[in-house]
């Protein structure tokens, strides 16, 4: 039978839809994908190597630069690992404040995901709408720690400062507005026939395959696995809050979209609970000025970042610099699933899938 010749094209490293410097080598038959080969490393900055040559405290700013769309989550994961390594107990007030900030970060990160995912599929208005709300999140972060993108907003043992005056009120105002905004986004997309055509049945992955590939976060939960570190290995005081883990049923792009939309609502719910029951007390535990964990100490700390399981493995050799720092990045592992997800789909679907697994190249390449 007559066969068309396969075409090999390079998508990226400079391409409008690859969310950074991702390069995909696509083998196409017409417009149908035969094979996708992600080529990564264009943003590799050797963070793990750099961390081995710095004091424990000086690593935190490096983590800001991993997932620059959710810097707080990375800070959190690293700081938590050091605390675990040292056996430091974080004061309850600091724990609650961390939860507030982490969930705010989740909302901000999901908003930027929504913006870019929508734009990739061609819905351009949603981009500006979501960015409008993300600006408010960034304003809140700026109000708390002075930075809008790379926060460095955590200290080993707690948080650096109380919420400034008026900050919680501003946060509440934002949270009051958020549900109507999310409803607006959903009006634009959820029932939109084109949006559903583009996302339903695209990139279907079953639970077993997804789990085997190491997918985590909303990408995994779309396949119906309710694995969320906040529930399965609770850290801080997540145990105290009532919230649901949305899971999908079909494991397609549309499910993952719905999950992230619902997660924003759940994050709002958690923040409101945390603000309601913010304990009194100190915000910073006592930690030695020079951090020198004993030799042979190793700790693995998992957090649920907006993109999935973000974990840090720390090895100490008894000096004041970590011997080995391993960042388990959700994006790196989620991107590993892209070839499986996009097999047999079309070029346009790859774009939708990159958005759907929500990668940040800083996080992939480290």
């Amino acid at each position: 039978m007559y066969q068309t010749s396969e075409l090999e094209i390079n998508m990226g490293p400079q391409h409008p839809a690859t969310h950074g410097v991702l390069r995909l080598v696509l083998r196409l038959d017409g417009e149908t994908i035969v094979e996708v080969k992600p080529v990564i490393g264009y943003l590799h900055r050797g963070v793990e190597k750099l961390s081995e040559n710095r004091g424990y405290r000086s690593v935190t700013p490096l983590t800001d630069r991993l997932d620059y769309c959710a810097a707080f989550a990375e800070n959190h994961s690293y700081v938590g690992a050091v605390e675990k390594l040292l056996g430091v107990e974080v004061p309850p007030r600091a724990q609650a404040m961390r939860v507030v900030l982490a969930e705010l970060q989740r909302i901000a990160s999901h908003l930027i995901w929504l913006a870019t995912h929508g734009l990739d599929i061609g819905a351009m208005t949603i981009f500006l709408y979501a960015f409008r709300e993300r600006e408010k999140c960034l304003d809140l972060f700026e109000g708390y720690c002075g930075a809008r993108l790379t926060y460095n907003a955590l200290r080993i043992g707690g948080v650096p400062q109380e919420f400034p005056d008026g900050w919680t009120e501003a946060l509440r105002r934002f949270l009051d507005e958020l549900p109507t905004r999310i409803a607006q986004y959903e009006t634009l997309l959820t029932g939109n026939r084109i949006w559903r055509l583009r996302t339903e049945g695209v990139g279907v992955i079953d639970a077993r395959t997804a789990l085997g590939l190491g997918l985590t976060g909303p990408t995994l939960r779309g396949s119906g696995v309710d694995y969320d570190v906040r529930k399965y290995a609770p850290y801080e005081n997540y145990r105290d809050y009532a919230f649901d883990i949305p899971v999908g049923s079909k494991g397609d792009t549309y499910d993952r979209y719905l999950i992230r939309m619902e997660e924003m609502r759940q994050s709002r719910r958690i923040i409101l609970q945390a603000l309601e029951a913010l304990p009194d007390g100190p915000i910073l535990a006592k930690v030695a000025g020079r951090i020198r964990p004993p030799k042979g100490a190793e700790a693995y700390f998992m957090t649920e970042s907006p993109r999935g399981e973000m974990s840090v493995y720390l090895v100490s050799d008894g000096t004041d610099k970590p011997y080995r720092v391993r960042f388990r990045s959700p994006c790196f592992n989620n991107l590993q699933g892209l070839p499986t997800l996009s097999k047999g789909h079309m070029v346009a679907d790859v774009v939708a899938l990159i958005g759907s697994i929500d990668i940040v190249l800083g996080c992939v390449d480290r």
Binding site: G46, G214, A297, A299, Y300, Y313, D365, R366
Partner: protein, 197 residues
Amino acid sequence: MSDQDQPKPPQPPAPPPAPAPAAPAAAKEKAPDPLAAEVSSPALERLRAVHGAALVEVRFWAGLPLVEVGREQLVPVMTFLRDDPSCRFDHLSTCFATDVPERAEAPLEMTYCLFSWPTRQLLAVKVRTTAETPIPTVSAIWPSADWNEREAFDMVGIRFQGHPNLTRILLPDDWTGHPLRRDYPLEGKPGDHKVYR
């Protein structure tokens, strides 16, 4: 690929890991740190019962069981950990390589962080090797090990036997050396920063 640029004299073929003369529980050497206390772990109990001979060393830190396994037993142990009903480590959270040059007989170490969400346990499995001796891949057990093992190869230079596509992943294909080795200078070696065009 690039073992020659290692300044160390080539190691003799690695002997099988020392059969741990001290019992696994003898990890506490001096004043026992409270963080190093043993915690109860059903998975570890099962592992000890079934694959006790494969365990080289068992330590604990801050509630995390650290298990060292012999290279040859890695795949059976890992398969057991995944499939045994009381272990069910479905999720290979990450795996990475560490270079420990002072341990001359087996300077490279691979750590696998396993999480079992059905039983909510965390377990770190370690296996030691040298630059010359490959360790078996676990990518057939958890496909997610694929890229992580490539990264370990890229960064530290561990070889994996049976890996489907063991090539560099983060660094350019023509890079020499493995940057996460301890002797690799932080600022890089001259000639590292080629102009790619």
